[in-house]
Symmetry: none
Amino acid sequence: METALRRPPLRAGEVEVRPSEFLVLVNGERLHLTVRELELLTALVERRNRIVTREELYREVWGEPYRKSDRSVDVYVGKLRQKLEDAVPGRRFIHTHFGFGYRFAPDSDRG
Amino acid sequence: METALRRPPLRAGEVEVRPSEFLVLVNGERLHLTVRELELLTALVERRNRIVTREELYREVWGEPYRKSDRSVDVYVGKLRQKLEDAVPGRRFIHTHFGFGYRFAPDSDRG
DNA sequence: GCCGCCTTTTACAGCTTTTTCACAGGTGGT
DNA sequence: ACCACCTGTGAAAAAGCTGTAAAAGGCGGC
């Protein structure tokens, strides 16, 4: 968590991430996330509007090489989607790019 | 404790900390704290409404690097919670953020 | 020394999070 | 349509974190 303290705040649509405070706000409300969830969301928002591979996300968040059978990224994307859906019903933030990876975009389906 | 003398009084809900007098008041009543308890509470109130890591608290209060196995912060948070509960039954001041640290907030869960 | 008080360490139960697994269902290519 | 592979997700297992009582260690006063 050392690194988080130096990261600047990020904003993407209704989502504001303040890594240095371990805080995510959605429309001004605190989103309660676990450590992994926060780190993954931070990584995605830092790369917003870009397709990011599981390899890159896994290296960034888990800090070790990605094994192809590892589903952790998928599982945590699911958790984040659930919590974001609860916070902003009807909007989709994390988009799947089949065969490539994921992309965070607060706006349309094809950003 | 040179530093305490220069710290301004702090107020957070029913809690008032006067570092320069080594004094904590809760609803005007003196809260009897030991040195460690006072320093930890001061550190927390100075950072009120923010999540603070054990590492930061330990460095601030104990003045040396934090070892992950050290439970002192947790133990003293427990002591403070007990004394605050005795002073203001039913209110929760120190909130745990699992995997992150603690947060002092006299009010609701979200700071 | 002995006592009393404060601080640190230890131990363990209980709880939360993270990881892994399994399988249903989706997708793209032929 | 068929096949191979990819993704979503619930649930169980494993790992890790927190609360707290109690033991152990320190320190000053008498």
